[in-house]
Amino acid sequence: MIKVENLSKDYLLKKKEPGLSGALKGLIKTEYKTIHAVDNLFFELGEGEIVGFIGPNGAGKSTTIKMMSGILTPTSGSVYIGGEDITKHRKEVVKNIGVVFGQRSQLNWDLRLGESFELLKHIYRIDRADYDNTLDVMDSILGIKELVDKPVRQMSLGQRVKGDLVAAMLHSPKVLFLDEPTIGLDVSSKFALRTFIKEINKIKKTTIILTTHDLGDIQELCERLIIINHGVMMEDGNLSQIIDRIAPYKTLVVEYYDEEAPEHERCELVEHTDNIAKYKFMKKETTAAEIIADLSKQKNIKDVSIEEAGIDDIIKIAYGS
């Protein structure tokens, strides 16, 4: 569905020297510094895939999304959507794209939600039947019809984002870009949104690219993860595989009856405070059961628990490198 090849984006940044002399110099001659916002990205997404596109602030996520949706021209490389080069057939390709920016609404502040939808219906030239049908589907998932008579300016953030999502899906795009859709939402709105994303992905086979800083979003929605940092691709793969590769260990926490903690040959005692000892072991080498069995032969164990590397550890590690 989407093919990204050699995608790069450079920005020219004015070099500013400090002080008055620097400012004066800048008036006469400006020097530019090249910033590689996105550097040589390669990936391919299939139909109906949900991909988490993550990275720290300023990693180049939004720039990439803008290039993929045709509103930013790449410095080099190309993006194909449904086999069509987006830079060459922009006007045709945008009809297959829906975009939601969590922090900027595309809805018209002064109109009722339904009026905004009608406007989009005309802009995208959607058939009445298709339009009604899509709206019915959206209503069954999000309950959007109770909002259509409400002016957008009077909506809560949760309602507005719902409206934005439906607006982006009205023309049944094949690809949906979601840029931090759950930002600032409460738990129940987040839940509704995630359900919506899952449902439309199932019903409409929409390919979804999701950028987020919310780990819950990723865990709930994404099977595949693409991590970028400084514009460079860090990871691309299955979520659990990435976890296995970046963090191939688990931590066993054992509580004893006294302060003495025995060592074990196949794991490392990483932390020991009072009665609690933490053992880090490789998933490939041994299992928690084995270690517990061995340890319990040496000392009485009061309690055990296992800490697994989660998605947040992965992100921390990936961002740190």
Binding site: I71, F101, L111, H122
Partner: protein
């Protein structure tokens, strides 16, 4: 042959979406924008003060520059009404889009953004005809005089001249608005532009009252073709041949500004596409 029919159908549907944008804006302006009523008050003040001004000026004279006091009063009422048609929002619209960063989201849709801005302004003006122009006509009629057209046979010329002045005015506004893509904020510039047009276009004081040199310079700028030309036709100043000659220049200004607009639009769109919105 077949493809050309296809193209025609396509274009017709294409226009439809802009008409819908216009309609939506009309609904929006009718429903929500009460602030526009302030303009009636402002225009009333301008009309009344200019009426006193011209009455005082014409006290001992029958006519100045071939125009008598009565015609001058008509001139100011119609000028106030015309100013309503020439209210544009495109420059503010562009500035807001640049500030809020919504240019990008506007560009994702399969519409030309300037086509969209134009349709929105047109919708806004249609609403203003009822909200502003009619009240100003009524107030002007009651407080000053009935602004009748002297030679009604010139009406088609007047209508065409007004349409062209609307276009020229909009193109100038859009060109000003595009500066926002470069500088970000154009608040002060919008004010400067607004007052420049009001002063240099003869909307308050016709330029035939200016010294010959100044008047000549102003005639070579596009502004007089926005207000003074259609207003002169309305009050019947000069001959038919003069109107036609003026409208020819007006038309050339329209062509030049249109060409310049498309040239700048292309550059600006490319710039946004390269630097991000």
């Amino acid at each position: 042959m077949r493809t050309s029919i296809h193209e025609e159908v396509r274009r017709e549907i294409n226009v439809k979406k802009y008409i819908y944008i216009l309609k939506t804006q009309l609904i929006k302006s009718m429903t929500y924008e009460f602030s526009v009523y302030g303009n009636i008050f402002m225009q009333t003040i301008i009309m009344i003060t200019s009426a006193y001004f011209w009455k005082a000026l014409y006290k001992d004279r029958g006519s100045v520059g071939g125009v008598d006091a009565e015609s001058m009063l008509t001139y100011i009422i119609v000028s106030s009404m015309l100013s309503v048609l020439l209210i544009t929002n495109v420059e503010k619209r562009i500035e807001m889009s640049v500030k809020k960063g919504t240019v990008a989201t506007d560009m994702i849709r399969p519409v030309n953004i300037f086509g969209m801005y134009f349709a929105e302004d047109l919708g806004g003006v249609f609403a203003l005809v009822f909200q502003n122009m009619l009240p100003i006509l009524i107030i002007g009629t009651l407080l000053i005089k009935v602004p009748v057209m002297v030679d009604v046979s010139a009406l088609p010329l007047f209508v065409i001249a007004v349409l062209e002045s609307f276009m020229i005015n909009w193109l100038i506004a859009a060109l000003f608005g595009m500066i926002a893509f470069k500088t970000g904020s154009i608040d002060a510039l919008i004010q400067v532009k607004k007052h420049l047009i009001r002063l240099l276009s003869g909307s308050i004081i016709p330029i035939w009252f200016f010294p010959a040199g100044v008047s000549k310079v102003l005639s070579s700028l596009p502004f007089v073709y926005i207000y003074q030309l259609p207003l002169s036709i309305y009050i019947g100043k000069g001959e038919r041949a003069e109107y036609i000659a003026g409208m020819q220049i007006q038309f050339w200004w329209l062509v030049v500004l249109t060409a310049f607009f498309f040239f700048v639009q292309k550059k600006v769109t490319r710039k946004v596409m390269v630097q991000g919105g």
